[in-house]
C-alpha cells in the first residue's frame, strides 16, 4: 500500500477517527494501531507479518532479559546474541545471494568448484529499517538510555507503527516508547505543518520524482551508451533530484501522518543539497540514519578519540557499512567508500591546514557547496547503477562522449529546476506558507489539499512507482 494511492487515503480515513476515538483507552488504541500496522505491512506479503512479529517478540524478550541481568558480562553476552540474531535475519534475507555468489567467485579464482544453492526467498519489504529499529531498542536498553518496556504491545507497536515501518524515518526507542505510555494530546497535532508535509511530499513524489525518473533518468541509466555526454551528466544531476524528492517525500508524509495520529517523529531531511561540505551533507540527508550510524557504530568504534588515523578509519568503516546496508552489491559499498573517503579527506584538510569549506568567506562556502554537490552526484552514479561495472562504464561514456544530442525535454529540465528550487528556497518562506495555512478558515483548509491533489492528478503520470527506499 503506497502513500499516494486511493487505498491509503481510504485506509487513513478509517484509521484516523478510530484512533482518536480510542484515545482515552490507550491500550485499546495501541492494539488497534498494531492491528492496522500489520494489515498495512501484510498488504505487500502477509507472510512477512510473521517475521515482523517474531523480530518484535525476540527483541522484547532480549530487552526484558537485559533489564533482569545485573552482571556486566552477562549483559554483554545477551546484547551480543540479540544483535547477532537481528543481523543474521538481515544477512539471510538480504545478503545471502550476494555472499554466495562472491564465495563461489572467490573459490573459482583458486580453481575450486564451489556450489552454493541459494534458496529463492523473497526480500521482505523494509527488512533493513526493521533491523535498525530492533537494534536501536537493544542498544538503548543495553546502555540504560531507556528502560526495557514491560509491555509487549508497546514494543510491537514501536517496531510496526505503519507510518515509519517501510522506509523510515528511523525512530529511536528512547524517543517513541515514552509517547506510548500515555494518551496522545490532541493539542500536539500540528494541522498546518502535517498537511504541508503530506501535500509537499505528494508533489515531490508524484509530479517531480516520477516524471524525471521515467522520462529521463531511467532510460539514460538503462542504456547509457545511447546518450551523449550532456545527457549522462544531466541524468546524474536528475537522479540526485529524483532520490531526494522520492525519499524525502516518503518520510515527510510519514512524519505528517504520524503527527495527525498524535505521535512525533524526528526530522529526516533539511535541504541536503545546500550543504557546503560532505559533513554538512550528512547532517541534512537522512538525518535519522546518519545519527544512528554515528551513535551506534562510529562512536562505539572509538569515534575521534583514538587519534587522527583511527578517526579516518572509523569514518571509512562507518560509511562502508552504511553503503552495504543500502544493498547487497559492490556499487553500494563503493558509494559508501566514496563518502567515507571524502569525509576523511575533509577532516584531514581541516586538521592539517585549518581549511573548512562550511566556514569562512562566501567564496569558500560557494566553492564548498559546488564541490560537495559534484561529489554527491558522482557517488549517486554508483548508487543508481545496477552494478559497479555498469557505474564505471557510465563514467567511461561520459569521458568518451558518443556525440548524441541532448534528449532532456524542457519539461524535464523545468522539473529538475523545480526540484532544485526546493533546496534553495529559504526555510522562512515555507514557514510563512505554513503559518498562512494555520490561520486560514476551515473552508480554505479543505480547498488547499483538494486543489493540490487535483493538480497532482492532472500533472502526474499514469500510476505511481514504488518509493526507491522500499528495496532497502
Amino acid at each position: 500500500m503506497l502513500f499516494p494511492t486511493i487505498d491509503f487515503l481510504l485506509f487513513f480515513a478509517v484509521v484516523f477517527p478510530i484512533t482518536w476515538s480510542l484515545n482515552d483507552k490507550n491500550t485499546l488504541k495501541k492494539a488497534f494501531l498494531v492491528l492496522v500496522s500489520y494489515a498495512f505491512y501484510a498488504s505487500w506479503n502477509w507472510r512477512f507479518a510473521f517475521l515482523l512479529l517474531f523480530s518484535s517478540t525476540g527483541n522484547y524478550l532480549a530487552c526484558r532479559l537485559l533489564s533482569a541481568t545485573t552482571s556486566p558480562s552477562r549483559r554483554r553476552l545477551v546484547t551480543f546474541v540479540a544483535v547477532a540474531l537481528n543481523l543474521l535475519a538481515l544477512a539471510y534475507f538480504k545478503y545471502f545471494d550476494f555472499l554466495a555468489a562472491e564465495l563461489m567467485n572467490f573459490a573459482g579464482f583458486f580453481g575450486l568448484d564451489l556450489e552454493i544453492n541459494a534458496p529463492e526467498v523473497p526480500l521482505p519489504v523494509a527488512i533493513s529499517f526493521l533491523t535498525f529499529h530492533g537494534l536501536s531498542y537493544i542498544f538503548d536498553v543495553s546502555r540504560k538510555k531507556v528502560e526495557a518496556s514491560k509491555s509487549l504491545l508497546d514494543v510491537v507497536l514501536y517496531m510496526a507503527f505503519f507510518p515509519h515501518l517501510v522506509a523510515g524515518p528511523i525512530v529511536r526507542a528512547a524517543d517513541f516508547l515514552g509517547q506510548l505510555s500515555k494518551k496522545s494530546d490532541p493539542k500536539h497535532i500540528d494541522i498546518a505543518g502535517s498537511f504541508s508535509l503530506i501535500l509537499g511530499g505528494l508533489v515531490k513524489k508524484v509530479v517531480i520524482a516520477s516524471h524525471i525518473a521515467t522520462l529521463f533518468v531511467d532510460p539514460v541509466f538503462v542504456n547509457p551508451s545511447d546518450f551523449g555526454r550532456l545527457d549522462l551528466i544531466l541524468a546524474a544531476y536528475g537522479y540526485a533530484i529524483v532520490i531526494y524528492c522520492d525519499f524525502s517525500a516518503y518520510t515527510d508524509i510519514a512524519i505528517g501522518v504520524a503527527n495527525l495520529l498524535g505521535y512525533q517523529f524526528p526530522q529526516n531531511f533539511n535541504q541536503p543539497y545546500r550543504a557546503t561540505s560532505l559533513r554538512d551533507f550528512w547532517r541534512r540527508w537522512h538525518m535519522s540514519l546518519s545519527s544512528w550510524l554515528r551513535d551506534y557504530l562510529y562512536i562505539p568504534m572509538g569515534g575521534d578519540r583514538g587519534g587522527r588515523w583511527a578517526t579516518y578509519r572509523n569514518l571509512m568503516v562507518t560509511m562502508l557499512l552504511g553503503g552495504l546496508w543500502h544493498g547487497a552489491g559492490f556499487q553500494f559499498i563503493i558509494w559508501g567508500g566514496l563518502h567515507g573517503f571524502w569525509l576523511a579527506l575533509e577532516r584531514f584538510l581541516k586538521e592539517t591546514f585549518g581549511f573548512d569549506s562550511s566556514k569562512g568567506a562566501l567564496g569558500v562556502r560557494v566553492l564548498g557547496w559546488f564541490v560537495t554537490f559534484q561529489v554527491v552526484c558522482a557517488a549517486w552514479i554508483f548508487f543508481r547503477s545496477p552494478s559497479s561495472s555498469a557505474a564505471l562504464e557510465y563514467f567511461g561514456w561520459i569521458i568518451r562522449d558518443s556525440g548524441a544530442p541532448s534528449t532532456a525535454t524542457p519539461f524535464v529540465i523545468a522539473l529538475m529546476l523545480l526540484g532544485f528550487a526546493t533546496q534553495l528556497t529559504r526555510p522562512e518562506r515555507y514557514e510563512t506558507l505554513v503559518r498562512w495555512y494555520a490561520d486560514a478558515s476551515l473552508a480554505m483548509k479543505v480547498a488547499v489539499p483538494s486543489l493540490t491533489i487535483l493538480c497532482i492528478g492532472i500533472l502526474g503520470p499514469k500510476g505511481v512507482a514504488p518509493f526507491i527506499y522500499f528495496q532497502f
Binding site: 487515503l9 484516523f16 482518536w20 525535454t409 478558515s441 476551515l442 483548509k445 483538494s450 487535483l454 492532472i458
Partner: protein, 112 residues
C-alpha cells in the same frame, strides 16, 4: 444572453460568501484538532470524488469482483454520471486531457 453577474459573483455576493466563510471560521474555534483534521480529510475526499469521480471508478474496477465491490462500482458509476451531468468533473478532465496532449510527457529514448 446571460448576465455576467450570474457567473461572476458581484460584490454583494462576495460579501455573502465572506460572511459564510467567517461563520465557518468561527466554527473552527470550537472544533477540536482531531475533528478539524477529520473535516479536512472527509471534505477533501468529497471534493475529489465530485471533481474526479472516474479515479474511484477505475480503482474499483481493478479490485477483485464480489458483491461489495460490485455495489461500490455501481455507486461510483452513478457519481460519475451525476458529476458529469452537473459539469463538476469537466474542468479536471479537460485539464488532464490538455496535459496528456501537450506532449510534455512523451519519452525520448535517445539515439535512434
Amino acid at each position: 444572453m446571460t448576465d455576467e453577474s450570474e457567473i461572476w459573483p458581484t460584490g454583494a455576493r462576495l460579501g455573502a460568501t465572506s460572511a459564510r466563510l467567517a461563520a465557518i471560521s468561527s466554527v473552527r474555534v470550537k472544533l477540536s484538532r482531531p475533528t478539524q483534521v477529520a473535516v479536512i480529510v472527509y471534505a477533501t475526499m468529497v471534493v475529489l470524488l465530485l471533481a474526479n469521480p472516474q479515479a474511484l471508478a477505475n480503482w474499483l474496477a481493478d479490485l477483485q469482483q464480489n458483491a461489495i465491490t460490485e455495489a461500490a462500482r455501481s455507486a461510483a458509476e452513478d457519481v460519475v454520471e451525476v458529476s458529469s451531468r452537473l459539469g463538476l468533473s469537466a474542468p479536471y478532465e479537460a485539464a488532464r486531457e490538455a496535459f496528456l496532449k501537450s506532449g510534455w510527457i512523451k519519452r525520448d529514448r535517445g539515439r535512434p
